[in-house]
Symmetry: C2
Subunit: 158 residues, 2 copies
């Protein structure tokens, strides 16, 4: 179990994640965003100039993927990854958490955040993880639950 | 233009890509697959034990993303990436291209393919790229078209 949790935690230490969301006509949209994880929520700060972000603002759910880099993968056929469903809320600029979150982004992702912090096309979104699947190799898939990504069972399918 | 095409071609040299597809209830599903590019099509060989693959087999379209590794990104806020829409067809095991494609996978991705080549839960899917967006930095987004990913215009939004 320790090894599985370590693999999960390495993925949670990623700087960015892939996000798929349902588009206006039901079509899937896909993007990549930096994130911070704080108080068991995941936050992204991203611009509505990207279409998938406009859909995130309209949709209340999305599916996220944390994936190890290609260059770190032992076997490219079985990249370590954590896929999970989230519910979405926007954190408004007047929310008392907004400034603290911006500071976290600066700590985690550098000074670009200082530049874009006041750009009003950007939105702070809060993603609450619901459930998901951790894959750490062939036939090594595990169901995870909740915002702590607790490992609850071994899956035969992923 | 040369620099833009080089960035695109570096992404096309990736070994794997992210794929988002519409699920049964309209929800998005997301996965990552190795691929080979041959004769202007992209091929993936993947198992229907993964839910997103069952959806790929049912759906005739998907959206794909090639993304540079985190560790190679100059600025994590603006990872180089190529997102594109595809139409999907299955290449059956009796198709004359099937064996050649399996050989290409061995050349490109190693001996795992020898092991899984005869696994009947795996399917060879042909993705034909239609159009997409190449992002190589802040405000550096370009529309691409066709299976050659020809760069056709500079976009203000991505």
């Amino acid at each position: 179990m320790k090894k599985i949790e370590m693999a999960r935690d390495r993925l949670l230490a990623n700087k960015s994640m892939f996000v798929a969301v349902q588009g206006e006509q039901g079509e899937p949209e896909l993007g990549v965003s930096t994130f911070v994880r704080l108080n068991e929520c995941i936050f992204v700060y991203t611009s509505h100039l990207s279409r998938h972000v406009r859909y995130l603002l309209n949709s209340k759910t999305a599916v996220c993927l944390l994936c190890e880099d290609e260059c770190s993968s032992q076997n490219i056929w079985a990249r370590c990854r954590l896929k999970f469903n989230v519910s979405i809320n926007e954190v408004s600029r007047s929310d008392r958490r907004f400034d603290k979150l911006c500071d976290e982004f600066i700590i985690r992702h550098g000074s670009t955040m200082k530049l874009i912090r006041n750009f009003t096309d950007f939105h702070m979104l809060s993603f609450t993880p619901i459930d998901g699947v951790l894959v750490i190799g062939f036939a090594k898939a595990f169901k995870v639950e909740g915002s702590e990504f607790k490992i609850v069972s071994h899956l035969k399918e992923a």
